[in-house]
Structure formats: structure tokens, C-alpha cells
């Protein structure tokens, strides 16, 4: 088992036993579900909306070269500097290079999942820079020195008491149980940072080829401030974020809001088409867009799972996933948690080390049903299992399944096996739940069904006689 698999198994086991954690997450996500259903019901046709969204994304991804070049051409024409990074190291060097050139010291960041992916904060801090996350949830997890728990709701695993304690310790604030007061504390601290920061770093939810803009979706206004006040704005984004036309957003923005957070539209959906233009009074003087591959082309090369690049990172698949709801976000050990993370991480970080995530699924399909762009998530998990085994079979498993096939294709042996099973059952209580129990994985927490006195096959035979 890979180290990542060991860690997942260990953390998942620990968290599934934590009933407080379980109920916290389930309660929050049930709230989300109710809001989402209410908003979804307002659509005249949600299923057709999904289909159209899937088709637009299919077009974008399957002509990615064309649309990327169009996007870059348009956004560069208005004074934006575009950088291309094949991997995380290149992206970090590009960003550090811009910062170095500006002799910048302090950086304000709005939520950038690609930044988490390439461990940007660590690199910036190592270079002696002051980096502050401005999204409230991200700010909280940054203060706690931990990874986001959920790529849309980063601090979902914490209750107000814990946040209050954190603020007392880190910011010297007074204790409070009011979410509003806690927000105010962070607001006060962060306000000054926007104005004094030398550089703002953001992500991008979409990139529009037709008009050469990036689109950023947020509720708090922190991204707007990040992109408005510092002199330099750097946007880091994956190459798969492109949409062909500006009006495609008329569909994607509401669907992202509804699927992701149960909103009709997110608080701010802002489009940035360049640095401050002639005649404009504010905005950055320099605008840099860093396009990141980091193995996305590896996923692109797999036509079977290519649609995973359609993902708009709404988080709907995490929210409905019964595995996510029980093991929580940190157990995954990935940048992108939940079903979409389990599908793409093997492509981004290696199949053999991350195949355990494909197996950590009951294949229930709730994710696929929830996905607003119709990514065939749970079937991709099945395909990843097949690919992992084809690449490197596990000898004893293969042996077992060969044996199983041998047995199943010999009904007479199956009949004998069920008789043997009936006998074995008599002695099973002696070992049940112990190390010697061959069914221990099951019997540690569950009872086995009883093999019937008369199996169906025996019933059928007796009837024919």
C-alpha cells in the first residue's frame, strides 16, 4: 500500500468514529442540500441546463488549443502578460520572478485552489514574503496551518468556539460566540492588508476565449478587493478553465452557484479583461495570468476520463458524497477532495499511489447525479480501478478472482460450497470478529446473514422433481 493509501485508511477510520465530526458535517451539508433543492426547482429545466453546460464544456475542452490561443491573444491585446507553466515549479518561479522584479514584500491572496495544488504559499513564505489569505475560510485554515477541508468551504469542519479560540490565540481578540463578531475581527485585520499589499494573487473560475477575460466567483468581496487595490494582480489558473463565449456565463454562473452553494447567483461574479485601461481610475497597473498545465494534459490524453476537465469546481459532488460526509476532507490528503479529487488525483499525481481513492467508493453515483456538467464521476472510478489493475495486478487478488471465476462457472461446486458454508457457520461464532475470522472485515462491525436451510437452487430442484 502506498503511503498516501496508508494515511487515507488511517485518517478515514479515525474520523468515521468521530461522531461529533460526522454530525457537524452532515448537518451543514443537509442545510446545503435544502437550499440547493429550493433553488434548483426554480429552473425551468435543470436537466437540460446540465446537458447544455456539458456540451459547451465538451466543445471547450475538445478544442482547448484553439480556445486557449484565442483567450491569450485577446487578453494580451489589452496589456495583460500571459505566462505558461508546465508544472508547479515553473509556476512558482514565474510568480516569484514577478514579485522579485517588483521588489514586493506583502501579498494578499484570494482563494486559489491551483495555488494549493502547487504549494504556492510555502514557496512565497520561504522566499521571506508576507502572504495573507483573504477569503474568510482560507484565512482561518491559514492561521491554523492546515489545508482547506473542502475546496469550496475551507473551514467547514470548525465550529465558532474553535474559531474564537484561534483568533484569541493568533490575533489577541476577545472571546465571542457570534459568527458576525468573528467575521468583524477578520475584516478589521484584513482591511488594511488590501491597501498595503504590493501584489494581489487570485485564481479564476472561468476564462473567456471570445473576449479575453477571466471570471472570478465569490461571496465576500475579498477577491474584488484583491483585484482592485494592489498595483499588481497575478491570476493563477489551470488551462482547462476556458469557455468559448462570454454569454456561456449566463448558464455557468447560476449553475455554479446553485450546484455549489444553493444560491441563485454567487454574491460577486467579476470579469477582468486587463490591467487598468486608459481613462480608468483604479485597478492594478500590471496584470499577469499564469496558465498551469501540471498534468492536466495527461488527463486530457485519456478520452474516457477527459470530461473530468469539464469540472467547474462547484463542490457539489463532495457535498452529496456519503464517503466525504463520513471521512471528511482532510482524510483525502489531496488538493481536490471528494469524488472529483478521487478521479483527477491519480492523473495529477500518479495512479498507483492514488488508486486507493477509486476503491474508497461504494459507486453509489450520487456524485454523478449532482454534477452540473455531467461528469461521469463514479464510472471513472471504476475505470481507474481497471486501469490500475491492468497496469499492475495484485497477484493474490487476481488469484482469488480467478478462483472465484473457476468456482462460479462450476455450479456443482457452488452447491457444495453452500453446504460447506452452512457447516462452517456452525463453527463461525468461535472465531467471529477475531484475527482468525476470514470474514473479519465484515464481522468486526456487522453480523453475517445466515445461509438458508434451503437455497433457491435447492428449492428449484425440489420443485422440478
Amino acid at each position: 500500500m502506498s503511503a498516501a493509501a496508508e494515511q487515507f485508511k488511517h485518517d478515514a477510520e479515525r474520523l468515521t468514529r468521530d461522531l461529533r465530526h460526522r454530525s457537524l458535517i452532515q448537518t451543514a451539508l443537509k442545510k446545503y442540500e435544502a437550499a440547493r433543492d429550493a433553488k434548483k426547482s426554480r429552473y425551468r429545466d435543470w436537466q437540460s441546463a446540465r446537458q447544455t453546460a456539458a456540451e459547451i464544456k465538451w466543445d471547450a475542452i475538445n478544442h482547448l488549443d484553439k480556445y486557449l490561443e484565442e483567450f491569450v491573444g485577446k487578453i494580451e491585446a489589452r496589456g495583460t502578460k500571459v505566462h505558461w507553466a508546465s508544472n508547479g515549479e515553473q509556476a512558482r518561479q514565474i510568480i516569484l520572478g514577478i514579485i522579485g522584479e517588483k521588489k514586493a514584500r506583502s501579498i494578499i491572496k484570494s482563494k486559489v485552489m491551483t495555488g494549493e495544488e502547487i504549494h504556492l504559499n510555502e514557496a512565497l513564505e520561504k522566499a521571506g514574503l508576507i502572504v495573507v489569505e483573504s477569503d474568510f475560510g482560507e484565512y482561518i485554515v491559514q492561521l491554523r496551518h492546515e489545508a482547506p477541508y473542502h475546496f469550496v468551504f475551507p473551514a467547514m469542519h470548525l465550529v465558532r468556539g474553535e474559531i474564537s479560540e484561534l483568533f484569541q490565540k493568533e490575533l489577541g481578540s476577545k472571546p465571542t460566540d457570534e459568527p458576525e463578531e468573528l467575521m468583524m475581527i477578520a475584516r478589521q485585520v484584513l482591511r488594511g492588508k488590501y491597501i498595503t499589499a504590493d501584489i494581489g494573487i487570485s485564481g479564476a473560475n472561468f476564462a473567456i476565449a471570445e473576449t479575453g477575460m477571466i471570471s472570478i466567483t465569490e461571496n465576500e468581496g475579498n477577491a474584488r478587493l484583491t483585484c482592485a487595490l494592489p498595483k499588481v494582480h497575478i491570476a493563477l489558473m489551470g488551462i482547462e478553465k476556458v469557455l468559448p463565449k462570454l454569454e456561456d456565463l449566463a448558464l455557468f454562473l447560476p449553475m455554479l452557484a446553485t450546484a455549489g452553494a444553493g444560491q441563485a447567483l454567487t454574491g460577486y461574479n467579476s470579469f477582468y479583461g486587463g490591467p487598468r485601461q486608459p481613462g480608468e481610475s483604479d485597478g492594478p497597473l500590471e496584470f499577469h495570468v499564469v496558465l498551469l498545465d501540471n498534468k492536466r494534459t495527461h488527463l486530457l490524453a485519456d478520452p474516457e476520463q477527459r470530461d473530468a476537465l469539464h469540472c467547474i469546481r462547484c463542490g457539489a459532488c463532495l457535498n452529496v458524497c456519503p464517503i466525504y460526509r463520513n471521512v471528511g476532507g482532510h482524510s483525502y490528503g489531496t488538493t481536490y477532495q471528494g469524488p472529483i479529487g478521487s478521479v483527477i488525483t491519480p492523473h495529477l499525481r500518479g495512479l498507483q499511489n492514488w488508486k486507493h481513492l477509486s476503491y474508497a467508493s461504494s459507486l453509489c453515483g450520487a456524485c454523478t447525479e449532482a454534477c452540473p456538467v455531467k461528469i461521469d464521476l463514479h464510472h471513472h472510478l471504476l475505470q481507474s480501478r481497471r486501469n490500475a489493475i491492468a497496469q499492475r495486478p495484485i497477484w493474490w487478488e487476481r488469484f482469488a478472482f480467478k478462483g472465484f471465476g473457476f468456482l462460479m462457472n462450476r455450479p456443482a461446486l457452488v452447491a457444495i460450497a453452500s453446504k460447506l458454508g452452512r457447516m462452517a457457520q456452525i463453527f463461525h461464532p468461535l472465531v467471529k470478529g477475531t484475527r482468525f475470522d476470514p470474514a473479519r472485515a465484515w464481522t468486526r462491525s456487522r453480523e453475517l446473514p445466515v445461509i438458508a436451510g434451503q437455497t433457491f437452487r435447492e428449492f428449484w430442484r425440489s420443485r422440478r422433481r
Partner: protein, 226 residues
Amino acid sequence: MCYPRVGISIVEILERLGHNVDYPEELTCCGQPAFNSGYWDEARPIAARVLDRLKDAEAVVIASGSCGAMIKKFYPELFAKTALSQIAKTLAAKCYEFSDFLVTRLGITELGARFPHRVTFHDGCHGLRELGNKKQPRELLAKVRGLELVEMSEAETCCGFGGAFAAKFPMISTAMGEVKCASALETKTEFIVSNDASCNMQIQGLADRQHLPLRAIHLAEVLNSR
């Protein structure tokens, strides 16, 4: 092996409706355990045998949504680009999960059943999402005399079985089962009905261990009660 009443009930119901039921005794397993574990090459011989035994039937009725999904949805994928591809597609088209067969193929919901109990229904994931059977079992239950259906909030949430998943990640599987059982208990019903034997095994196994007052029963058994 463990739930013969399910098969017996289906046979009795179909025969009462005047159908000729055959059961090729050589049938054992659809190959899903190997398939779901990634061993498609090992699953194919098992599945090929199923294809062979069932290819001549007029219609095939399957007791569990999960096995139904395997044959209807995954056989065509498993045999894609092989000599058996067409046979797999043909079989998939005439294969029905039990409740779907009654409601969609036969157009029958009234079976003269009587089951004077309060029950809740668990949607097995494969039946629900791979095959789209949401209404069929409920239409059948609605016609059962004396039966009161109380929907649980987590009706569509996975019970946590998931085949090999239950053994590979037993604690996650158990936690999921606990969520399911808690939701079923909230309805204060006597039975949790489903059309998937493997879900029943998970729910009953957990309920028995935790001494929960829950009894899982297959839809066919309810429909065969008088």
C-alpha cells in the same frame, strides 16, 4: 444462498401472473465482484457464461438492482470491442430489474398482496441511479393492502455496502450504514423494504450487531405476502 425467499417469491408472483419461469441452474454470479475490483479479464468468463445461458430468453428478470445494473449497463462495456459485444447489448435490452419488469414491461401494479405493516423504502443505488427505478417499487407498494409507506429522509443515500468496498473500507462502510439505519429508525416503521438483497444484508447485518429494531425485507417478499 442466504435469501432464497426472494427468488421463490419472484417465481411465485410471476407464475401467478401466468408467465413461464425458467431458471438456468448453471447461473451463479454475474461477475460484478471481479468487475468492480478492476479485474475485468477475470470477470469476463463469468459474464460470458451468463450471456450464454440467458441469451435465448424472451425477458430476463433480476432480483437485485445491483446485478441488474451489471447486466444492463456494464456488460455492454465489459464486452465492448469483443466478439460478444452484440449479444451483450441484446441481452441488456431485454433485462429487467424485478419491479421494473412488473410496472414497465407488464404494466401491472396490483398483485393482490397484503402486508399490514408500516414500512420505509430504501432505494438501492444501482437500481435508482444506473437503472432509474424510483417510481416502480413505490407504485407496487402503493397497491399492497394494509401497507403504509413512510419515506425516510435518507431514502436515496447509499447504505454503504458497495461490494468489495464493504471489505476494503469496513469502517467507512459501517459509518454509512449507521447513517442509513438512523434515518430508517426515525420513521418508526417495522420494516425497511428494498429491491436489492445486498443492501438488505448490509442493513440487517448492522442492525443485528447494534440491536436496532430494524428488519430488512426484499420487495418481492412483500409483494408475495397475502
